[in-house]
Symmetry: none
Subunit: 200 residues, 4 copies
DNA sequence: AATGAATGAGGGTTCATTCAT
DNA sequence: TATGAATGAACCCTCATTCAT
């Protein structure tokens, strides 16, 4: 019926769809209440079918977490670098959008990180890596005299991650405010970093 | 049942000790992996004894969450108000300290909030209430011409919550940096809020 | 369906090959751990293909057991009867060789006999029938004055079955001793049966 | 109701009773068809109760197998040694009785030995150790001129194990013949070993 | 107040088997 | 004929919870 895909669709695609479904379920139910039965039902298949695509529940979760991380890693690749303010604008907005989109998973990942060192690392790749990258970006700007942050770049960088995370929480419940929130985040960032706003 | 005599006091104390133990266990194992057996073992009692103090595992968790929230609520009561900068300094540092101290529980609470509306509310009391209070504080300062935030006070306020949360994560792993981090948080906040630093 | 033409012959051959593979797998993994998946993998085919040749896993096992039994039944047909000692020699060695060759299957069959009356019967055909036949053989020899067993022929007969079984166990792990063991078995049998060794 | 024991009984005793029940079930159903549910039902308890005494189904089986082995090991301790024939008589009969009593378990152990090296060792302790002991016993007799086996002592010894095993199979179905079978086994053994029958 | 003992409910996982292609 | 895909039925095991002592 409403199974996860017709026969003609490749297995890889079905796996991907299963992950989509799984993300929704994990975000709705959290890690422990997400059962294979629930995943299967949400995907319109039977329990054993889930095992045709993933060896275990934990593997579903790991694959999901990996996918989220990969999306975050990809974010950093395409950013307009025509001016510091533009770079900041795009980077912050993109990070904010991704954070909002995957807010639930990030909460679950943080929870699992309490228990699983692998999740701790994965979370680090999502959160701390962009921070380090951003810190280096600021340091370069400072060296060029184009930024004058109030506190060390690393702290600005960390602060912005936190700000984005918190704003994302709000954006999840009030998507209509997402745009405005993005704007405020950028504004705050520019001010914290002491970057001249030369956008448009 | 038992009067407020020594017996009762002992019971209240034991309950409190049980909660201390429980907080440690919940932070180490997360919500689902925390079993009554583990709580009992960590407290050096048998499983049924836990039920003498709490009706269910969920009640242990709720009591714990309540305790954390209460501590956050109490934070706001004693703040030096001799100057805006001093107020900000104390409030931010206190919030940051509490956030660091209860970081694990806050992660678990966030996770449970995905599932349990009551936890959503509780989390709101911990995070959003101080934000609103802070926003009002800023608005008053703005009205008095003593603050000139870069973005609306509500956004500054939300931003600082996020910053603190992220800094707390770091402070958990590197307690030796807690002081410095607290200072940076205050500095950033003052700058974001456009408050003159008239401290010492 | 398919005539006895080449197709059918191919099918029969494949079935036989499948049984060969299955014997190896059942002996390696025992009855319960042998899965259709394992059989299919060992045969280099997909799971459903196994079902093209056998209606069920139990049928694979039954066919296998039947094949083993048939081999044992055939043993008794060609035995040199030129002298009692020669008869004994050939019969014991042949039985011992077959027992060694199919030791694993015989263990599995014994195990299944605990549960399945049909396997009990089959095992009886493999083990008890030769015993009865042997007992009659001895009785005839006794009547002719050519044997003087220490105990009733039926007991001698049963004893030799047991001896062979135990020797086979050893021969499985130490094939190089098979010949010597065969010799000892014959010697013991002759002595137990009180048959003059007029061989060679 | 008909649970495995009243509260007053020690846990050790209950464990022992559970093992008694388990032996019956394993012998009736074989290894794989024996489920925890069946064990629990046979013992008159619920499934989780079984886990209060054993960590897993495999542990139940191992404990059972250990118990059987221990009983076999104890057999060898008390044997009348007033004369070779008496020693042989007692040893063979005792081994035969134990083999009959635990026939089912020995079949299951043999089956598991296909898969589990630990079971292979355990089986060796049950079967091969008495053989080696017996072989040494015969060697001593030979040295003293009190035995003249038809084949090397080790082979006699192995043969008798096999004979006993096969006789036990029969005795399981026909307990009324056990005594007679025991006698025949002893007679055969004495003859094979070339021991003078000086028993009363 | 405290606990040893027991269990109902439920979740993860496996596997023989079927079916559409 | 052969198979990729899917599933019903079980089974092992865990855990929150209860109860008699």
């Amino acid at each position: 019926m409403s199974s996860i895909g017709s026969r003609s669709v490749g297995a890889e695609e079905k796996r991907e769809r299963l992950l989509d479904v799984a993300e929704a379920v994990f975000c709705r139910l959290g890690h422990s209440r997400t059962t294979i039965a629930e995943l299967a039902a949400a995907a319109g298949v039977s329990r054993p079918t889930v095992y045709a695509y993933f060896p275990s529940k934990e593997d579903v979760f790991r694959a999901l977490a990996d996918r989220v991380r990969d999306e975050f890693l990809r974010l950093q690749e395409r950013v307009d670098t025509s001016s510091p303010a533009r770079t900041a604008d795009e980077a912050v907005r993109a990070f904010f959008a991704a954070y909002t989109r995957h807010h639930g998973m990030l909460v679950v990942i943080a929870h699992q990180a309490l228990v699983d060192p692998a999740m701790r690392e994965l979370r680090d790749e999502i959160v701390a890596r962009p921070e380090r990258r951003n810190a280096r970006f600021l340091e370069r700007l400072v060296a060029d005299g184009r930024a004058a942050p109030a506190v060390p770049p690393a702290d600005v960088s960390r602060a912005v991650t936190g700000m984005v995370a918190r704003a994302a929480e709000l954006a999840v419940d009030h998507p209509e405010q997402a745009d405005r929130l993005g704007g405020e985040l950028v504004a705050l960032y520019l001010r914290m970093a002491g970057i001249d706003d030369d956008r448009g």
